[in-house]
């Protein structure tokens, strides 16, 4: 198929790098694979084969920098550069190594207002279980032993930006619109969208809010039992849980929302939801059933779920 394959990494600014190191290694079960002299940490999950899926930069701000997606081949970079520019969005090529351990990288600000990176190469490390006669999971390791980075949900300034970002991701980057929440006269506005390049319900989502930022990023777990165990691990370590184990109507995912030591919201997302294929009809949720879509069991809004989140760094 070519083009974008999946979410590769999330890049964040954090307030206390040592607290973050503790948290992501002991609770999430990730491993620090690289440390720069400025204190920047790069972390990896056991079930990921590329070098890292999370970048944490020591900072005076708790903000969101970029989401980076991996494309299949180096030609995809040139291909997408041409397509993105033809759409009227400026791009920049960052030379090999400017994004750590990555080949040349295409950088642009999408119509949603967020900065994205696309790269075709990242240093290969391999899964902890290897690729010859592998065990199903590593006996070693700590905490909830997250499998891999799954998706991110980004906040946009109002439905116009949600729609502009969604259109761009569909038409230029080749994402499939799996689900949407529509509002306004005859549901003419998209207030939230879930888009996929893999066969899972989302690799990215956009939601309308007051500011440009990041609502959460998610790591994959197998199923309900792992979700419950993860919540237990969090409670044992006083992790601030935002939403206790729940089912999403949208994506059918099984979830916990919780915060890292800088207040960035994370999700553990379990289950593969359903199979997304190019001919699958888009699922629509109406304004009235919006909260049923988000929290399937309670069907109700939960506190500051759509208003408390991390702002983009470059705005």
């Amino acid at each position: 198929m070519g083009g974008i394959m999946r979410l590769g990494h999330i890049d964040l600014n954090v307030l206390d790098i040592e607290k973050s190191r503790e948290y992501y290694t002991n609770i999430m079960g990730m491993v620090v694979v690289r440390e720069d002299s400025d204190g920047t940490l790069y972390l990896k999950c056991w079930d990921e084969w590329d070098k890292y899926s999370l970048v944490l930069r020591p900072s005076d701000e708790a903000t969101f920098n970029t989401a980076a997606y991996k494309v299949e081949s180096d030609e995809d970079i040139d291909d997408l550069k041409a397509k993105i520019e033809a759409y009227g969005v400026e791009t920049e090529i960052l030379p090999e190594g400017e994004v750590a351990e990555c080949g040349r990288t295409l950088k642009f600000t999408a119509p949603s207002g967020h900065i994205f990176h696309l790269y075709a190469y990242k240093t290969f490390v391999g899964k902890d279980v290897g690729d010859t006669n592998p065990r199903p999971w590593p006996f070693e390791g700590k905490g909830i032993k997250a499998h891999w980075i799954d998706h991110t949900l980004l906040m946009c300034e109002g439905p116009e930006k949600v729609m502009a970002g969604t259109k761009f991701f569909q038409e230029v980057l080749g994402f499939k619109l799996a689900e949407q929440v529509t509002v306004g006269p005859e549901g003419s506005l998209q207030a939230a969208t879930w888009l996929a390049r893999t066969s899972t319900p989302h690799d990215i989502a956009f939601v309308a809010g007051p500011h440009t930022g990041m609502h959460h990023f998610a790591y994959f777990l197998d199923g309900w039992n792992d979700i419950l165990r993860a919540a237990d691990v969090m409670a044992m370590h006083n992790v601030k849980i935002d939403v206790t184990p729940q089912r999403h109507g949208i994506t059918r995912g099984e979830t916990i929302y919780f915060f890292d030591p800088s207040g960035h919201r994370l999700e553990t997302f379990a289950g593969l939801g359903y199979l997304v294929q190019p001919d699958m009809p888009t699922i629509t949720w109406t304004e009235e059933e919006l909260w049923r879509g988000i929290f399937y069991h309670t069907g109700a809004e939960d506190g500051a779920f759509t208003t408390a989140y991390t702002l983009s760094a470059y705005k």
Partner: protein, 108 residues
């Protein structure tokens, strides 16, 4: 050790343990504290400390400038009481917000 925290804008008190941030200590009462990220990223817990001794961890400069911090304007989730305190919550700062009133927020 526990201290008494008077939330002036709510005219309510609640005790808060020294080991807990004001946000965590007061959070059991939903109507005393706005719900937020509990760790510094979202800015909903901005308070003015009117009285009392406290320790604090690093503030998110997106929401609290050095000048604010010097005037005892801080994030409640980053403040730990050392004595009885008096505080008041401040409205969430408007950062980009010419837009805020005009923009649809999911669910509002």
């Amino acid at each position: 050790m526990k201290h008494n925290i008077l939330v002036r804008d709510k005219s309510r008190n609640h005790t808060c343990h020294e080991d807990k941030s004001l946000m965590d200590g007061l959070n059991v009462y939903e109507n005393l504290v706005p719900k937020g990220c509990h760790n510094g990223a979202c800015g909903v817990c901005k308070i003015h400390i009117l009285n009392g001794e406290y320790s604090k961890s690093k503030m998110n400069r997106r929401y609290i400038s050095q000048e604010d911090e010097d005037k005892n304007i801080v994030l409640a989730c980053k403040v730990f009481p050392k004595t009885d305190m008096e505080i008041e919550f401040l409205p969430k700062p408007k950062i980009l917000s010419a837009l805020e009133k005009k923009v649809y927020i999911l669910g509002n």
